[in-house]
């Protein structure tokens, strides 16, 4: 083993168990402090981790809140397949609401051009869903290490009537005491894995022997090359004439919509290799998120609009 590789192995370490204890504590606070909580489920590894934590927090009882999926219609089929399997496996309740419905109702407008995506539109559907079910707390899998605006998030993040995040008015959050008191109309976004890093999530998935969607592992896929990234070809991707799809071996490091997550070239079919790849990667996880590249403050602006 080269010295470089052994240095990497040293770094892998183990999953720090205190993070799991902290997250389970947060899950239980949500169930206890709110009348109508929900877990926002995207099908990605972070929300799968949340489901695992919720399962553990209430065992041998069932997860006491529904999983809510805001379906953009641009999901990878593997993600949907996995979602339905997980719901069966855990016995959790699943609520699905569709961005397509918001578009049909004229509440959201489809973007045009080659960068068109439904990432921004899902906020509309999310806010409507929160109103429909009167959810007072929505659990999300955002992590502070992902992005600079997310690094500023509280664990209990209070949002106004319109779901808006006001970074300047965040409540103090002391020790592990979580204050979930809100006024009528307000709701709370809860981030139980705030303090986990990408590596922590992968080490956890490995140690817990969790199932994850197959697209996280290397597979053959039709892609196009755009802006130095590999984009999955699909009927939802607006291609230009010179963007000709070709087949190659890729995997996804982060999973969002087909139109906002880029693939990475990889032959890793084993979780240990994935972890090694992450450790030696020169690019951060969200470097493959096309949605973050729109501007310097793309994430903060979306959060102000009610994104999670």
């Amino acid at each position: 083993m080269s010295t470089n590789m052994s240095a990497i192995h040293d770094k892998i370490g183990q999953f720090p168990r205190e993070l799991e204890d902290e997250s389970i504590y947060i899950m239980r606070e949500v169930a206890a402090q709110f009348d109508r909580p929900a877990l926002l489920f995207s099908g990605g590894k972070d929300s799968i981790t949340l489901v695992r934590l919720a399962q553990k927090a209430f065992f041998p009882g069932k997860i006491p809140f529904p999983l809510v999926h805001i379906d953009t219609g641009h999901n990878f089929p593997e993600t949907i397949e996995f979602r339905d399997w997980l719901v069966k496996e855990t016995g959790a309740e699943l609520i699905v609401r569709y961005v397509q419905d918001s578009i049909d109702q004229g509440k959201a407008k489809e973007e045009s051009g080659k960068y068109a995506s439904r990432n921004v539109l899902q906020t509309v559907t999310l806010l409507d869903t929160i109103e429909e079910f009167k959810f007072d707390a929505c659990i999300g899998g955002a992590r502070r290490d992902e992005e600079k605006a997310r690094a500023k998030e509280r664990i209990f993040s209070v949002r106004d009537d319109f779901g808006q995040w006001d970074a300047k008015r965040q409540r103090p959050e002391l020790f592990d005491m979580l204050n979930g008191r809100i006024s009528v109309g307000e709701n709370v976004r809860v981030f139980p894995i705030s303090n986990w890093t990408e590596l922590d999530v992968w080490n956890y998935i490995k140690e817990e022997k969790m199932e994850i969607p197959s697209i996280y592992f290397a597979h053959q896929r039709q892609v196009i090359q755009r802006d130095g990234m590999l984009w999955a070809d699909s009927e939802h991707l607006n291609k230009e004439a010179d963007e000709i799809p070709f087949e190659t071996t890729v995997r996804f490091r982060t999973v969002g919509d087909m139109t906002c997550t880029a693939a990475v070239s990889s032959t890793a079919v084993d979780i240990n290799v994935i972890i090694e790849e992450i450790l030696s990667a020169e690019i951060s996880e969200r470097g493959a998120r096309i949605d973050d590249k729109r501007s310097e403050a793309a994430m903060e602006k979306r959060k102000q609009q009610g994104y999670f």
Partner: protein, 416 residues
């Protein structure tokens, strides 16, 4: 793998964010795309160097004003441990965010500008570090490059601070001094070639070798019940599990326990973590406990060992507080008090002292405590709280005060 939580402190512009950026940069913890983003953001600001403070100052308003407004949490790891850093704002207006970041820290990095020496925020943050009982404080005398890396300047600041430090420190707190330059990477992870006169550890060495003996497992056993698990399924028909995170001490299967405030006793039948049964569990672990007989326990009750003679139960008590709201704390007012997960009403009967942070002297019997002030109060709660004296058992000795109308967290208290 253990986790070391660190928070920065010190006055505005002393270089906290730059220091954290530098620490991550020199430990190769910033990926290429993020460095490129920092480079272009620095260029846009008209700078001809890499402004590492932009790594944590990620909000639009922060970048416009060039200051930190809210805490940023940032992560890196070494083969030794995982670090969670809270980079907090130095501006007095945002002290509540500084306290938020500092409340979970085991190490406080208090920065001082080598040109200016001690300012009021240095004193306030030292006071807060002592109020929170943060075990290790590293006073980083930053911007040494601007005083030509003179040893005399460093010694002068250290001398001037020693009186203040002597007054704020508590037994067991470790305070050290470090001359650094965050901008030029002197003494952060590499020995300072510009300061050969300094032979102590670099900042990273200080962090890597810091041993915090986890005394929590030896503290009195405290288990606040968060949630009652009642599956009511065929297989678990009569199952009743008490879920929570042990705040201090150790619980073992077979231990006789007492429930507070009711005083009922029972024996621990099982301790469970998901599908695993354990013989014992210690502070920090999220578990489910079942008892040998059915007694009435609900959320907010605390479980302790029945053998304990010194039962924690407070209704009329005094505490130190740090006030975090624009609306002043006034005597006679009622708030919601949250101790751990238990909430009850509390009336502030008296404000007995207000602390002058720079002089470390107190004024007695004041009418109110304003934003960012530290003082001592007497209070009475509607229901007894099962709290310990903070200095004796920190994990069970603090509380927050919540405004009943705005629902906001307005103060933090430490039981005396």
């Amino acid at each position: 793998m253990d986790i070391l939580r660190i928070a920065t402190a010190g006055s505005v512009d002393d270089g906290k964010s730059t220091l954290i950026g530098r620490l991550l940069y020199e430990t190769n913890s910033i990926t290429k795309d993020k460095i490129e983003a920092l480079e272009s953001a620095s260029k846009r600001k008209g700078l001809n160097f890499l402004d590492l403070s932009l790594l944590t100052d990620g909000l639009i308003a922060e970048r416009e004003q060039g200051i930190t407004i809210d805490v940023a949490h940032i992560y890196f790891s070494t083969p030794t441990r995982k670090y969670i850093i809270a980079d907090t704002p130095g501006h007095i207006e945002y002290t509540r965010n500084m306290v938020t970041g500092a409340s979970n820290a085991k190490v406080s990095l208090i920065l001082v500008d080598a040109r200016q020496g001690i300012v009021e925020q240095t004193a306030r943050h030292l006071s807060i570090a002592s109020l929170l009982r943060i075990p290790k404080v590293i006073i980083c005398v930053n911007k040494m490059d601007l005083v030509q890396y003179q040893e005399s300047k460093f010694n002068e600041i250290q001398d001037k601070l020693s009186d203040l430090v002597h007054k704020t420190t508590f037994q067991g707190q470790n305070v050290s001094y470090l001359p650094i330059s965050s901008l030029f990477g002197q003494n952060i992870t590499k020995q300072a070639d510009e300061m050969p006169w300094f032979t102590g550890n670099t900042l990273l060495q200080e962090l890597e070798t810091f041993e915090f003996a986890e005394t929590l497992a030896q503290a009195p056993a405290r288990f606040p019940v968060q949630f009652v698990v009642r599956p009511m399924t065929e297989a678990y028909h009569d199952y009743r599990g008490y879920a929570g995170k042990i705040s201090s001490g150790t619980f073992k299967v077979g231990d006789e326990i007492r429930v507070l405030p009711t005083g009922q006793t029972s024996t621990i039948a099982t301790i469970e973590k998901f599908e695993n049964s354990l013989d014992q569990a210690i502070a920090g672990e999220s578990i489910v406990m079942t008892l040998s007989n059915d007694i009435d326990i609900s959320r907010g009750n605390s479980i302790i060992l029945a053998s304990e003679t010194n039962v924690p139960s407070l209704k009329d008590f005094s505490a130190h507080v740090c006030w975090l709201d624009h609306q002043a704390l006034s005597a006679g007012k009622t708030y919601l008090l949250q101790h751990g997960i238990h909430t009850t009403k509390a009336k502030i009967t008296q404000i007995t002292e207000r602390l002058d942070v720079t002089q470390q002297t107190s004024t007695n019997e004041v009418g109110q405590l304003n934003l960012n002030e530290i003082g001592k109060i007497s209070l009475r709660t509607a229901q007894a709280i099962s709290a310990d004296i903070y200095a004796e058992n920190p994990s069970n000795g603090s509380f927050i005060l919540i405004d009943e109308f705005s629902n906001s967290t307005v103060g933090v208290g430490f039981v005396d």
